[in-house]
Structures are given as structure tokens and as C-alpha cells.
């Protein structure tokens, strides 16, 4: 036990005395969170849409058909109630809910105006706003068409509501992503580098020739990074809440739980990498390629997963950050509870066990 504590203390000293590392692990999350704010306009596809139309008439059916026929939209059915609509949206099964005013045709004929409500899921604000734009355009097109036919001016008013993100803050989207990225960098890259550094510097030799158990050493190496990454997680959370106004709608404890699981996962991956490479340079490159880039590209952090070609969507299954980001989005932004994220949690825990097995199998008690 004393060995363990002595080792942990040594690891903290290494970190604190290395100015460059300190800059990265404290400065990076802050910088990224404050700088990250580009808007990506991407084509949005496969928009799941459902209609609430208790009293269909020629117009509502006409509009619905137009939308259904559009290749961007994926018709899910006609909802029986608003509650069912909300539930579907909450579960992530619905991107757009189209709600027709009661007595649509009557209103239109009598007063020349009728309203359609477009409720778009904006936890991914990009997707949400584009979805609304498409729908609005389709409805405008229909209106124009009809006016040409009937030769009576009228107006279909569209009312857009952004669900889960009324102010359209893109920060809602990228905060979970940044968390995933930052924690991955700190835990995976730093941990693997720290272990490989012992190999490279020659101190590993001396450690091996002592009674120190490999397990103790490995565990002791992860502890400082666990602590630091948790602190970073809190920093990101505080900054996004106070500076960017991102709400924490769900349980804080649940959020912490998810963070701890993800941190453990990325740390374990760092250990796995350290058993596979011999030089610090290689540890960084290996981690960057297998961890960072997939997180940036495939985790849903920047590019929505649904937009990706099938192959990449499948690939994103094994990117740990994908599950973390989904879980965080659900808890933090949508305010969901544990029942909504058990799948993500289970997958992450499974990954931890798998990586642990690989690490243990690869850990050597000798130099070669």
C-alpha cells in the first residue's frame, strides 16, 4: 500500500513539474470550450416526421403528402395525441412533428389564413433548424402551387418551435462533444505516454528489478489522471453553465456517474495503448489516430451520426465517445433519467472489461 501511495505521489510530481503538460491539461479544456463555436451547415437527411391531424382535410392531406414524398423526410405515421408526439421526440424517434390547426380548411377559406406548427427536435440545433427550414420551404411551395390553381390568395402560416433548445444555442451540441474529446485526450494520451516514458527513459528497468508489482504501478499511474480529468470535467461543466448558459436539466449525480464511467474507459484504453508501443512518440500517434480522430469524426460530436454512410455509422459503434456524448446529451440537455441511458452505460462498461482483458494479456513481467 505504501508502495502505491509513493508511486502516486511520484506521478503527481512528474505532472506538476512538467509545464507543458500542465498547460495542456488545464488550459486545453478552457480554450476549447471558449473557442469552439463554428456552425456547420450540413445537409440533413432522414428526417423522421409525424403528423398530428385529428380532422384531416384536403389541405392538410395535401401538405402531408408533399412532405411525405420529399426524400429528406421519413414518414413515421400519424400520431394520436400530443403526448405520444412528445414521447416519441423524447425517445429520439422523432425529428419533426407537424401539427395542423384544428379546422384547417375552414379557417383558410374563411379568413384566408391558417397555421401549421412545426416542432423540431433541436438538441442538435443544426439539424433542428435545417429540418424546420425544409418543412417551411415545402409548405411554401405547396401554398404557391395551390394559389396558382385556385387563384385565391391565402397564407399558410408556419410556426416554428425548437424543442429542447429554444434559443438555438449550438453550445448545447458541442459541450458534450468537448467533454468527450478532452477527457479522451487527457486520459488516453497522457496515461499511455506516462507509462511508455518509463520504458523509454530506462527507469522501467529499475522498477522491474524491484518487488513492485506491475498492477500497482499501472494503477498508480492512472490515479493522477483520473483526478485531473474529473477536475477538468467539472471545469467544463462550470464554464458551460455560467459562461455559455448551457443548462443542466438532468440529475447532476447521474452526469457524474456517466463521466466516471467514461473516464475509466478512456484510462483503460490508455493502458492498452501503453502495452502496444515502446516510444512516447508512438504512444501519442497511436492514441491520436485510434482515439482522437474517431472521436472528432465519428462520435456525433460535430457530424451527426445519422448523416453518415452506413459503414461509418457501424464504425461509430465502437467509438466510446459516441456513447458518452449521447448519454450526456440525454441527461444534461434533455433531462432524462437512468432508464434512458442504460444502453449507453452498459456498452461503456462492456468496453472497459474488454480493454482490461487485452491490457492484462499484454502486460509483461520482463523486458522483452
Amino acid at each position: 500500500m505504501k508502495q502505491f501511495i509513493a508511486f502516486v505521489r511520484k506521478e503527481f510530481r512528474h505532472i506538476i513539474r512538467d509545464n507543458r503538460t500542465l498547460l495542456i491539461i488545464i488550459g486545453m479544456p478552457i480554450v476549447e470550450i471558449l473557442l469552439f463555436g463554428f456552425a456547420i451547415n450540413m445537409e440533413v437527411q432522414n428526417i423522421t416526421v409525424a403528423f398530428y391531424d385529428p380532422k384531416p382535410d384536403a389541405f392538410t392531406i395535401g401538405i402531408a403528402e408533399r412532405i411525405k414524398q420529399n426524400s429528406y423526410f421519413n414518414y413515421q405515421g400519424n400520431m394520436q395525441s400530443m403526448e405520444k408526439m412528445e414521447e416519441a421526440m423524447r425517445k429520439g424517434k422523432l425529428d419533426l412533428a407537424v401539427v395542423f390547426q384544428q379546422n384547417f380548411q375552414e379557417e383558410l377559406v374563411q379568413s384566408g389564413k391558417a397555421a401549421v406548427q412545426l416542432l423540431s427536435n433541436s438538441s442538435d440545433p443544426n439539424r433542428g433548424s435545417i429540418t424546420a427550414t425544409y418543412a417551411t420551404a415545402i409548405i411554401a411551395g405547396y401554398q404557391q402551387e395551390q394559389m396558382d390553381l385556385i387563384k385565391i390568395p391565402f397564407q399558410i402560416q408556419t410556426e416554428n418551435r425548437m424543442i429542447y433548445n429554444p434559443q438555438m444555442k449550438s453550445s448545447y451540441m458541442f459541450v458534450p462533444g468537448i467533454m468527450g474529446l478532452v477527457l479522451m485526450i487527457i486520459c488516453t494520451i497522457m496515461t499511455s505516454v506516462s507509462i511508455v516514458r518509463e520504458k523509454e527513459r530506462g527507469t522501467m528497468e529499475v522498477l522491474l528489478a524491484s518487488p513492485l508489482k506491475q498492477g500497482t504501478m499501472i494503477f498508480a499511474k492512472t490515479v493522477p489522471y483520473m483526478v485531473i480529468s474529473f477536475i477538468d470535467f467539472i471545469i467544463i461543466l462550470l464554464l458551460s453553465y455560467f459562461v455559455l448558459g448551457v443548462p443542466v436539466n438532468g440529475s447532476l449525480i447521474l452526469l457524474f456517474l456517466v463521466a466516471i464511467i467514461y473516464i475509466t474507459l478512456t484510462l483503460t484504453y490508455g493502458l492498452t495503448v501503453s502495452t502496444l508501443v515502446d516510444k512516447q512518440v508512438n504512444a501519442v500517434i497511436f492514441s491520436a489516430i485510434t482515439a482522437m480522430i474517431p472521436v472528432l469524426m465519428l462520435s456525433g460530436m460535430i457530424f451527426p451520426i445519422d448523416n453518415m454512410p452506413g459503414v461509418l455509422q457501424t464504425l461509430s459503434f465502437i467509438v466510446p465517445a459516441r456513447w458518452f456524448i449521447e448519454a450526456v446529451r440525454k441527461v444534461m440537455i434533455q433531462g432524462q433519467g437512468f432508464f434512458m441511458i442504460w444502453k449507453e452505460v452498459l456498452i461503456m462498461i462492456g468496453m472497459i472489461f474488454f480493454l482490461l482483458l487485452v491490457t492484462v494479456a499484454n502486460t509483461k513481467k520482463r523486458l522483452e
Partner: protein, 301 residues
Amino acid sequence: MIKVKDLYKSYGKSGKIKALNGVSFKVDDGEIFGVIGPDGAGKTSLFRILASLILPDSGSALMNGHDVVQDYRRIRQIIGYMPGRFSLYQDLSVEENLTFFATLFNTTIEENYHLIKDIYQQIEPFKDRRAGALSGGMKQKLALSCALIHKPEILILDEPTTGVDPVSRKEFWDMLARLKEQGLIILVSTAYMDEASRCDRIALIKDGEFIATDTPQGIINDYSDILWSVEGSRMSAMLKELRTHDMVMSSFAFGDKIHITVDAGFRRNELEQYLTNKDFRDVNIAPIEPTVEDCFMALTR
């Protein structure tokens, strides 16, 4: 006691690089055993096997009764190991390094302070300085302290004096002599031939084999050639000249003199005359006792 029998070790595809080619030897308690030879001769491979850090291809080695392959856990508790490069933590202070290694071996600095006192006192004034900022000689002293702090039974030192200036080297060997008195087995390797005389017994190693194992004096006694030293002006030219002479079997520079081995028919006055005729002045030829270095060169010719 260390007992090594027929150790073989090779690296690379199909064992292309033969590091150890059948090494056997014994070391008793309280002995300083030196392995003397150039880089690449196999010293580091041998020491790593004995420290249980790599596995031999074949052969056996017992360190105070413990087998290097099976009992490696026990061996790692009783040895103090100093590998070739400086292998302590550069960004930790002297004292932090020592405390760390003490704790690693489940002991404290206080418990075994008497063991390292002589050595550590020299660097104690710098105990808060980062290890990376120490000079070469001090780094060696620190590394030695860290290897001793847990009262090992066997010390394995792989080229501890390489790259260290002559004064620090001498001090280091003085420390080893004092440690030996405490009953430690000290296994040390070096490329400096002059350090051989400070060992109880030595083994000359070349290309993975021990070409001689004995006390330094024993190896010298075994030297069969007749050795002379030659001095004079224009030493480098004289060297070339001597190489062409029939009676001279070998000639090598040794500092300010040239050592030559000669045929049975050699006459000192003849050579003196010969050299003087060739315009070399102040020629002085004298018989000398061989050093370990002379023996090494003869054995590897």
C-alpha cells in the same frame, strides 16, 4: 553466491545476433567480480538475465540459490540493480528519488542509512536539487545509493563508470571496496581495463564469451609473451617502423610508450641501434610487466 552455467542468448531473426555464447562462472560472498570488455560483448545481456529482466535461451543461473527464471520474484527483492544509463527520475530531487526507491522496497531511508552513509553524504548537500541537474559523478552516487537503500544481498552494476571522469571513477571504486567489506556480492561490468585491478576476480568478455576468468594477477601471470616498452621521439612514426621489424610480433601504443611483443631471438641493443639509425632519438627500451589490457589484446589477437 552466484552460480551461472552455460548461458546462451541471441537476438534477432533466427538468432542472428549472438549476445551470449555459453557463459559459466561462480561468484562468492564478499567478492567483487568484474566483467571487463568492450561494448557489444554481451555484458548488458548477461546482467539483465541475472537481474531476471530477460530470459536466457538456455542455461541456468542461481542468485543466492534462487533461479533467475522461476524465482524471479524473490530475486527482485534481494538485488540492487544499476543499469547502464542513468535510470533515475530526472525531474525528482535527490531526496525524492531515494525516498521513492526506499518505499518501493518497503523500507525507509532511516532504516538503512548506515549502508549508504559514506556515499550519500557526498550528495546530501544537494538533496533538494533535481537529479537531472547533477553532474555525472553525482548521478552515479545517487544511483548507487538507490540501489543500496534496501540492503540488497547482491549488487549488479552495469558499466557504472562509463562517461564519468577519472577522479569520480576512482571514488566510485573506493566506495565499492568499502561495500564489499559488508559482505555484499558485487557484480560489476566496465569497459575501462584499468578498473580490472580493483576487482577480486575478473572475466574478460568478447563476442559473448569469457576468454579468461581469474584474479587480475592470475590473468597477468598467464600471459606468456615477452613484453617490452619502447619510448622515443616521433612516436607515431616509430610505431609504423616497429611494425615492419622482423623480431617484433606486435606493437601497440600505450600512452606515452609503445608495448611490443617479441620473438625469441630478440636483442634489445639491436633494436635500439636500429631505431637510432633511423633517426629516432632518446630511444629507451625496457622490459615490463603486462597489464590486464595487454592480456586482453593478446587474447583477442
